[in-house]
């Protein structure tokens, strides 16, 4: 089963690696990663093999300058 989260955050140079570290710490196996940067906003969509998407979303959401995290069915 795959889970997908959409993260909207500030386009900060440390945020993308930080979010990827968060996923790695949870042992998340990433299946796909898409990102769009527009001025100061970064939109990231990650699909991963992980049943506990809600908890992963919470860890992502607590990072500084993340404005929203949605879990997508």
């Amino acid at each position: 089963m795959f889970a997908k989260v959409r993260v909207t955050c500030k386009n900060d140079e440390t945020l993308l690696p930080r979010l990827l570290r968060v996923l790695a710490k949870q042992g998340v196996h990433i299946r796909s990663l898409h990102l769009d940067a527009e001025d100061d906003v970064l939109k990231i969509e990650v699909q991963f093999v992980e049943p506990a998407a809600a908890q992963v979303a919470k860890f992502l959401a607590k990072q500084m300058f993340v404005s929203s995290v949605e879990t997508v069915d």
């Binding site: 900060d12 140079e13 440390t14 690696p17 930080r18 570290r21 710490k25 908890q55 919470k58 860890f59 959401a61 607590k62 500084m64 404005s67």
Partner: protein, 553 residues
Amino acid sequence: MKMTGAQAIIKVLQEQGVDTVFGYPGGAVIPLYNALYDAPLKNILTAHEQGAIHAADGYARASGKVGVCIATSGPGATNIVTGLATAYLDSVPLVAISGQVPVANLGRDSFQEIDIVGVTMPITKYNAIVRKSEDLVPMLRLAFAIAKEGRPGPVLVDVPSDLTVKELDYPELEKVELPEVLKANEGNLEKAAAALNEAKKPVLMVGGGAVTSSVEKELMELAHRADLPVVSTLMGLGVYPGSDERAIGLTGMHGHMDCNLAVANADVLLVAGSRLSDRVTGDRNRYAGTKTIIHMDIDQSELDKNVAVTLPLTGDLKETLAKFLPLVKENKHTEWWEQIREWDKMEDRSVADGSRLTAPWVMTQLTKTFADRDTVYVTDVGQNQMWAAQYLTIDKPRHHLTSGGCGTMGFGLPGAVGAAFAKPDSQIVHICGDGGFKMTGMEMFTASRENLPLISIVINNSCLGMVRQWQQLFYNERYSNTILTEFDFVGFAKSCGADGRTVTTCEEFTEALKEAQGRTKPFLIEVQVAQSDLVEPMVAAGAVIYDFVKTHI
């Protein structure tokens, strides 16, 4: 106003109310130290950058303010990594300023260039490198705001050396906007209060988050009104007074029997500001059982992380408890208390009876001796830490400082140095083992040079006691690399300009403790104890919290 980047850093520190920083100079921060030379700020030069970051951490824990540490690039920056991790895992507000190679040399493996932002990413609440002069002041202001807002934590700002030399226009102070902390769900608040009001066997657990939110009055009111037995995690010690009749003590791997049994048998467990780590829960899959768990925490990612909770309440504890308290009814739990007192009788505390010199007895004597003085205990990690947590009576928050989450041996002495600057009128008592002392013992020189009258209690059992304890209990007594050779602790203290005494009996300890007081320099008491003493009770890692290890077979 025009000034150099280094002068701007000093000005931001002053703007943020910082009067003391802990650091160590080096190539990339020479301009910053040049500005510090005649700045109205005190820089405490430690023996090592690790000492500086732990001292800043001890300062922050004791004062509740943001601790500040300065280190140079490369090895200076990597030397603060353990300290950042220590602060991160215990949610301590720190700002670490690391020097970096000039912007033009970045990415070229220049001399003393380390990607410290990359290195510290997972162990900081936020970190960033400043690449332009105009970003320096806003970034530092942001660092202070992030470090102390919501759930506190360490922030690292990496500053290339050329930016500290260049001139910049110092910007006007602007409010830093950060995301708001979520409020507790009102529906859950009512359900939680109803559950507590109907409980027959309730327990209140206090953790480090309660210390951060300064909710000691609210917890006292709650426990007394609802007649709650109060257990504490290692990080929560002191936020509920240890001498109060409802405080039953430490819970977790080395928790008291009555505490762990009360938690295990509770029908309602109210957790105030704890992440319910493995050291608290033991087997997390068997922790909840059929009980209702009400979990209050500022960090929503802590709810359901380790233990599935029945009623999560996200938000600052101060606000959550303010709404929760009016819903809580007066109650009495006489039978439950009788049961807890029966469990308490099961624990053998004879190790602290004074029939011989032991670490637990030393803790009881420290409590008795300093009962009337504002005393901050700063412990290291290992057996000394657990004996302190079990046998000291801590009555106020921020009076028991320890590395709980990271378990950093060597935290104690530099942490005590920081606490001494935060609380100059308090007695600072540093407690450590012989192994931990050797890790950062050079900070005894710092303490002595700064005329800090701290008392350093070295529990010397000539071994790495906690590892040895595990080797005895779980590794067939194969004491691999844990038995330590003789070391002259008092001679070492004297070489640092301090003083000290070795004690081998209870009488000698009592005399030495008298001698240690009222000084203007540190005093070290080496307490020689038996190697065979174990920290008891003990629950094996991953076992259910009432499955105590049988140590006297």
